[in-house]
Symmetry: C2
Subunit: 136 residues, 2 copies
């Protein structure tokens, strides 16, 4: 059983044509992908089908969504054991000049203790400014 089938089984998602190609595509990428990225990467597959697939994946914790300051939600496959907890996440730096996003991998997100009975589902930490190339 290959990785994709396995994921669908574990996360209780019915494998369909669109779901298989979207998941395969996401697994191949090094960076989180936007809806548009996926649409283009899959050679103009239907946007709304991909969109709904992503929602399904998110509901079943196959992927998690990230807001990295670019204005477009990005998606990445959850790594094994990922509970989409803050420990699994990291800061992003968004350059407002060249519009590139950088993962600040060596800066884990600190634990924030929330008020009583608040429940964290995800965390998006974005720093905006100028990257080294644009900051001349």
């Amino acid at each position: 059983m290959d990785r994709i089938e396995e994921i669908f089984k574990i996360k209780d998602v019915k494998p369909t044509a669109v779901r298989i190609v979207v998941l395969r595509y996401l697994l191949e990428q090094k960076k989180a992908q936007s809806l548009k990225d996926i649409e283009v990467g899959l050679d103009q597959s239907d946007r709304s089908s991909i969109f709904r697939t992503l929602k399904t994946f998110e509901d079943h914790k196959v992927i998690h969504s990230i807001e990295d300051g670019s204005g477009m939600t990005k998606y990445a496959v959850c790594v094994e054991g990922c509970n989409c907890d803050p420990e699994d996440l990291h800061y992003h730096f968004y350059c407002t000049s060249c519009e590139m996003t950088f993962c600040l991998l060596d800066h884990p997100i600190p634990l924030v203790n929330l008020p009583n009975n608040f429940k964290m589902a995800q965390a998006n930490m974005v720093i905006k400014g100028l990257c080294d190339k644009c900051n001349q």
Copy 2:
């Protein structure tokens, strides 16, 4: 000289009709306001005029913008001595159920040391999940 005139003078912004009402409105609010909030609060003033006013204010550091997870950029008047530095900011909690935003005031944003020559301009730290009322 009242507070509004003073701010315009210090921040080098020409006081105009729209700018005066927008700044007065923002000063009256306890929470950061979205473009829509302001439009409605000012009884349907023209959106694009308000929009451009906000951009002008931002350029002149009269206000700073905040992304709090709601999907709408919000604006708040800079407090005296605010350099829009991360020290002046705080985490936000966005409840995905009731769509309310909470300021986590007692959690200052930690200093993140960026890669060489990167320059921070703003930081938006958003935690999403369920607030105490929705987490039953």
